[in-house]
């Protein structure tokens, strides 16, 4: 009996990949466990094994094809019972542009472009880049610029980064500056803080911010407070970065958004970019900053493409929000992946005749209250959007500030759209319910606009 071989999902967030190479031909006898193909994801090149034994039937997707969706049939396997016609030749699908040796992230739908802001001069040439590439470029540029900058973390070197952010950096900068650590977050965070006291500028990559809870004493008690405790004599110029928040189907211990936790601490700066341009510009600023900076990334955003200015030295100042879309009826305030829902909601609302202004905070500490307040004074309504837990959220804080400083301008209570107040469930249907959705945002806007 013939069975279809489907394009496999090889990471929690993989939606499509490149069929890099077939290692078997039509008519070959296959054993269970035999490697039959190589598949490139946005994270790595993986070997793909046959599950059952049998004979390779038709190959449906030619090698070199990019953008193959997960679960697309890529070949047909004939079982032992099959005594049918001899295998036909594969259809002559023309491979798309072969991606070459370096695994390229799969193409992603392009996110909307922000309003031309003051971050780069008008007329600057732009290039399309993923958040992943932008982060990598930011680190490489800063490492070229300052010899005291180094990267340390789990799998940042020889593995080329668990999420491929550091891909190629070991080759360029060597093992002295791209340092693989044992799995020991508390210890290496402390060593990095000490190194920053000693005159270096460490970038600490946490494989995810969930693991940084092991190191949170060093981040807060040692890095954030020393400048104050020393009367200004010494501080920690250090960046702690890594993916934060939910990926997909990774369960309660790997899915938390820590924005509100870190944003509470005086002495830390906290940024959470959405676009590739902001990821690049803010990371470069963070590395140059003389203070400890928490740099919150997002796994789902890594593969997303945006327009990034082509400039020799492009930085984005920490502490400045960005208005992505101007509007008159309601202010949507978000950051990080929450911007996806905010912008989608704004599109849908526009179709309903509601004009939403969308603000990307970008930095959570310092937070650009002025931009938010100016917008709320104009629209008289505000909905905040974030993926984190609802209690003591960034949105709660903003609601309080808006109440104190723009009370007379409000025509409706400020609403907070957040993740649900539950540990992240694993089951697909429950996870969907726990996460924030665009529909939540649209519903909240209808509530505050009374229409």
């Amino acid at each position: 009996m013939a069975t279809e071989i489907l394009m496999p999902a090889l990471s929690p967030t993989m939606e499509e990949g490149t069929l890099a190479k077939w290692l078997v031909r039509e008519g070959d006898t296959i054993t269970a466990g035999q490697i039959i193909a190589e598949i490139e994801t946005d994270k790595a090149t993986m070997e793909f094994e046959a599950v059952d034994e049998g004979t390779m039937g038709r190959i449906l997707v030619a090698e070199g094809t990019a953008g193959v969706k997960v679960n697309t049939p890529i070949a047909v396997m004939e079982g032992e019972d099959d005594t049918g016609a001899p295998p036909q030749t594969a259809p002559q699908t023309t491979p798309k542009q072969a991606t070459g040796a370096a695994a390229q992230p799969a193409a992603q739908p392009k996110a909307p472009a922000p309003l031309a802001g003051p971050d780069w001069p008008e007329g600057t040439p732009m290039k399309t880049q993923t958040v992943r590439e932008a982060l990598r470029e930011a680190m490489a540029e800063e490492m070229r610029r300052s010899p005291e900058v180094f990267l340390m973390g789990e799998e940042v070197g020889e593995y080329q980064g668990a999420y491929k952010i550091s891909q190629g950096l070991l080759d360029e900068f060597g093992a002295k500056r791209v340092i693989d650590t044992p799995i020991t977050e508390h210890g290496f965070a402390g060593i990095a803080v000490g190194a920053s006291f000693g005159g270096l500028r460490p970038i600490v990559e946490f494989m995810t911010f969930n693991f940084a809870m092991q190191a949170i004493d060093q981040i807060i008690n040692s890095a954030a407070k020393t400048l104050y405790m020393s009367g200004g004599q010494m501080g920690a110029p250090i960046v702690f970065r890594g993916p934060n928040g939910a990926a997909a189907r990774v369960g309660a211990q790997h899915s938390q958004d820590y924005a509100a936790w870190y944003a509470q601490i005086p002495g830390l700066k906290v940024v959470q970019p959405y676009s590739a341009a902001d990821a690049k510009g803010l990371l470069k600023s963070a590395i140059r900053d003389p203070n400890p900076v928490i740099f919150l990334e997002n796994e789902i955003l890594y593969g997303r493409s945006f327009e990034v200015p082509v400039l020799d030295d492009f930085t984005v100042p920490i502490g400045k929000a960005k208005i992505w879309r101007e509007g008159t009826d309601v202010t949507l305030v978000s950051f990080g992946i929450g911007m996806t829902y905010a912008l989608e909601a704004a599109d849908q609302l526009a179709a309903d005749g509601i004009s939403a202004e969308v603000i990307d905070l970008r930095s959570l500490r310092p937070l650009d209250y002025d931009t938010v307040l100016a917008s709320v004074r104009k629209t008289n309504r505000c909905v905040t959007i974030e993926e984190g837990f609802p209690v003591c959220s960034i949105g709660n804080h903003l609601a309080a500030v808006i109440m104190q400083q723009a009370f007379d301008y409000l025509d409706a209570p400020v609403l907070n759209c957040t993740g649900k107040d539950v540990p992240m469930p694993y089951a697909a249907n429950l996870e969907k319910l726990a996460l924030l959705t665009t529909a939540d945002v649209v519903a909240a806007v209808h509530q505050v606009t009374y229409r």
Binding site: I191, A195, S230, G235
Partner: protein, 329 residues
């Protein structure tokens, strides 16, 4: 009163012995004065005195060179005085005044001096250990031959981050001397009630780190062990562990009820093992100094400590604007 055993003859010079005597005495008199000021309400919060442990820092500082770094826990006054920080600035920090090393914003547990390469003064037990390894990491990265002394107690020796640090320090050959100041009590819990390990330094063997135990009541023994450890680090042989066996005469902090040990135990240590008396013996019995010589030093030290106390009382409280400074660089 139990008698001291006569001090063994030493090869240390008169100048060196007088220097150690003077430095240890400064720490002891300073701490006694701090205890008094605490009792008068001039020092607040936690205050952890170093009395009894003076030979540890004085011996190890004698093995250090300019550029070497040190970092320790909250029992830090002795370390600061031993590395040359000014008694006035330390005492004024204890009283929370503008003249203190952290301008009054750190307190007893949080003082720093970039000039003297003193990196704190850390209040979370064990947290200074990876920081010390990180300072050594920076020196190795920068290609100099400085060594870092990372001091911690027998209590901190049970913290997980110490062992995470051992592993990386040896893996990366970091020039750090881990100094376990084993004063036998983690707050009120004796070493025997904390672990079945017969010794703390031997735990380093699991990571391939060399080390040894040393008599911490003998400043010359501490110095000799320190020189050996430092030489290994400077030669690129990676980290080294010194478990310095010492004793704290006073409570863990000022509010220690001292129910966990007897007065007799403390008195016996004072009578038989005191580090300052040990050097005094070497000087007098060896004919290297007269009672009058030592009295002159005592007077000097007393004057320094009194000046520090006066400065710490007279120095104004920090300007209220200081509340909002030094949060960001």
């Amino acid at each position: 009163m139990a008698a001291r055993k006569p001090a063994a003859k030493s090869n240390a010079s008169r100048d060196d012995l007088l220097k150690y005597y003077r430095e240890m005495l400064l720490i002891r008199r300073f701490e006694e004065k701090a205890g008094q000021l605490y009792g008068m309400g001039l020092i607040g919060g936690f205050c952890h005195l170093y009395i009894g442990q003076e030979a540890v820092v004085v011996g190890l500082e004698a093995a250090a060179k300019e550029g070497d770094k040190r970092v320790t826990s909250y029992r830090d006054h002795g370390h600061m005085l031993a590395c040359g920080m000014d008694a006035k600035g330390v005492m004024a920090e204890l009283t929370g005044r503008a003249g203190g090393y952290s301008r009054g914003k750190g307190g007893s547990m949080h003082m720093f001096s970039k000039e003297k390469h003193f990196y704190g003064g850390h209040g979370i037990v064990g947290a200074q250990v990876p920081i010390g390894a990180g300072l050594a990491f920076a020196d190795k990265y920068l290609g100099n031959d400085n060594v870092t002394f990372a001091y911690f107690g027998d209590g901190a020796a049970n913290q997980g981050q110490v062992y995470e640090t051992y592993n990386m320090a040896e893996l990366w050959n970091l020039p750090v001397v881990f100094v376990i100041e084993n004063n036998q009590y983690a707050m009120g819990t004796s070493v025997k009630r904390s672990t079945k390990s017969p010794s703390l330094w031997e735990r380093g063997a699991a990571y391939g780190i060399k080390g040894e135990a040393v008599d911490g009541m003998d400043v010359l023994a501490v110095k000799a062990a320190g020189e050996k450890a430092v030489a290994a680090c400077r030669a690129g042989e990676g980290p080294y562990i010194l478990e310095v066996m010492t004793y704290r005469y006073r409570g863990h902090s000022m509010s220690d009820p001292a129910k966990y040990r007897t007065r007799e135990e403390v008195q016996k240590m004072r009578d038989e093992k005191d580090a300052i008396e040990h050097v005094r013996d070497l000087l007098t019995t060896g004919g290297l100094a007269t009672e009058d010589d030592l009295k002159a030093i005592d007077r000097d030290i007393k004057a320094i400590v009194n000046d520090a106390a006066e400065f710490a009382k007279d120095s104004p409280e920090p300007d209220t604007a200081e509340l909002w400074t030094d949060i960001y660089a």
